[in-house]
Symmetry: C2
Subunit: 351 residues, 2 copies
DNA sequence: CCGCAGCATGTTATCGTTAACAGGCCGTCG
DNA sequence: CGACGGCCTGTTAACGATAACATGCTGCGG
């Protein structure tokens, strides 16, 4: 494996001249450039990225640490990150924590050891210590998707409270008065915020949220299924469900189907998070988050910070959500007419 | 960010002693160990992986370059690779080429520059030059899934010829005499081999493969759909289809459904590649490849080679495929009894 | 008492690159 | 003519770790 030095010898110049030609930095004569390029071609020289990174103290690498790489919401964020980072010469490492604080810390340690330039973090918990660890080693971070108590850090997220308000508002407008809520862990800000937004809409409509079923669980299909079971076993009979994310919705739909409930005839459902083509997409009424934008903006924020001469003040960006009305929500108790076959109707196998 | 040197100073020893304590190499007294560990804890020291890798000339990193990261066959291989590599202290970089030779070469160049220890490659083509480039820079490679003309390299793959033979044999045993074949590009060895195995079975059964429809396309859903269209437009009327991989099968199923063909009543289908739970899985008769094993063995082969004192001879491992009979294949023209609802019946939304 | 093996530690050079600084040459301007 | 600024190149010293070798101590056998 040839080195800068080999190239320099062959071209009859110093290593610095070779380095300057390769990086296009400093002054080089057209003549040197030609000789160096010829030598590079002849040797099939490839720069050693490790040495470069060690010396320059920059790896041109960002990391995206997220809680569930199987969730289209996060893969969409990942695409946004990558699309913003690549053109600026940054590589991206993707890390999956499965909502585990320990995994998150393990990854953060690895990232520090690899000297990534910055970390984009979807925190598994408010108190993992990851941010402190990063700060202690001088790595900048941007927090994605979730709020943290400490505001001393860049953050990009969607307006969960506002989105949930839209969802509840939509169901109220349709005439629903008993609206159950199924969300993730109470300790995760998105859950809390989505419940807040829901509460605000209910209060505005003159309904006491205390009379409603609000269940906290996990952001998983299994948990959605289980919560739906509890919902249906209870006394009250909600005419609509607000599902806190797409996976909870899958579980809920499965549970409702098994219980013989038709959507939206027997029960309406509105979901936080849209889904890409090929999933259950054309059916569900959703609150769409600008996932791609969240990823893109977070990466841009990070890169801007890395390029800044002096330390920047922490910034927070909150993006609005959008209600997309489809066929899973309708006025309550529409027992007479059946506008659609009313089952899930998944037309295509995913590909 | 503290360094070995900082730790050494604080502990009152030399950097080498610290290095030895951290790596557990050479002799160290319990006393030094204690002092060093205390200093490490106090400083929150984390080793600089870049410097370590540069000096030791090993990155403890493998790369898996594959042609379609969305295909469960390859993600299963990836799991096998990771599970074999992790316990031995190797990290794995995953690279997706989308069957493009240019992307493949780009990745190979990046991997050389990053000085990965070895590359596991699913070649996009027989003649990309990737292997030559790797060899020129002294990086060992293992070729996965596909045959290459040059046999001078480690290789792990499934027995496509034998698997295809099983598939054809199965359909012949059911009584089919007109069996169409839809596969990927003729230039990819797996396509060629699957057609060979099919041919052998047909000849054995006294049928001239020349009378059959054998279509080459891409290993994609779109191509499967398109080829199925051509199939149905032709004169001959196959009673069975042998699909060269899972995505081709998806396209074919879609095409058959649109043409009003029921599976397996009107037409049987056998597919190369099994699918994980949650897909169309419990329905399709498949030739299952030991994907996980392919990945695991390839990684083990590579790690063995990296640890060997002297150069090893190139080795090739070919693993057998398995026929798993399910509901998509049946005797031809069973118009009378309908044992199943006979449509695809996808029960669950994927999660 | 000497030599040698086993333990423990330190010194020096190096991995391959770039940052920082130091010229040297040429032309131009005061 | 000397100073100065734009070009071009080279030298030296890192970046943070480990390989290789050197050294010094202890205890044991001959």
């Amino acid at each position: 494996m040839s080195t800068l030095n080999d190239v320099a010898k062959l071209a009859g110049v110093s290593t610095m001249t070779v380095s300057r030609v390769i990086n296009g930095s400093g002054y080089t004569s057209p003549e040197s450039r030609a000789r160096v390029n010829r030598a590079i071609a002849e040797l099939g020289y490839m720069p050693n990225v490790l040495a470069r990174q060690l010396r320059s103290r920059r790896t041109k690498t960002l990391a995206l640490v997220m809680t569930d790489i199987a969730n289209p919401f996060f893969t969409t964020i990942a695409r946004g990150v990558e699309d913003a980072a690549r053109p600026k010469g940054y590589a991206v490492m993707f890390c999956n924590t499965d909502e585990s604080v320990d995994e998150e810390l393990d990854y953060v340690r690895v990232l520090i050891q690899r000297r990534v330039d910055g970390v984009l973090l979807v925190p598994a918990s408010d108190s993992s210590g990851s941010l402190e660890l990063l700060k202690a080693h001088g790595l900048p971070a941007v927090v994605l998707d979730r709020r943290l108590r400490s505001g001393e850090v860049d953050a990009v997220r969607a307006d969960s409270e506002g989105g949930a308000y839209l969802a509840a508002r939509h169901l109220l407008d349709l005439g629903h008065r008993e609206i159950a809520v199924l969300v993730g862990p109470e300790s995760v800000s998105t859950s809390a915020d989505r419940v807040s937004g829901y509460r605000r809409a209910m209060l505005e409509a003159g309904i006491d949220p205390g009379t409603q079923q609000i269940l906290f669980g996990q952001y998983t299909e299994a948990s959605g299924y289980e919560m739906t079971g509890r919902l249906l076993a209870a006394q009250s009979r909600p005419t609509a469900i607000f599902a806190g994310n797409n996976f909870i919705a899958f579980g809920a739909i499965q549970g409702l189907r098994e219980a013989g409930k038709e959507i939206p005839d027997d029960i309406s459902i509105v979901v936080f998070d849209d889904l890409p083509q090929g999933w259950v997409m054309p059916f569900l009424t959703v609150i769409a988050q600008p996932a791609y934008e969240i990823g893109r903006l977070a990466a841009e924020m990070m890169i801007e910070r890395l390029g800044a001469d002096q330390p920047l003040e922490p910034r927070t960006i909150v993006l609005p959500c959008e209600l997309i009305t489809r066929r899973s929500s309708a006025p309550p108790r529409l027992r007479s007419a059946k506008p659609t076959p009313a089952t899930l109707n998944p037309t295509e196998s995913p590909a």
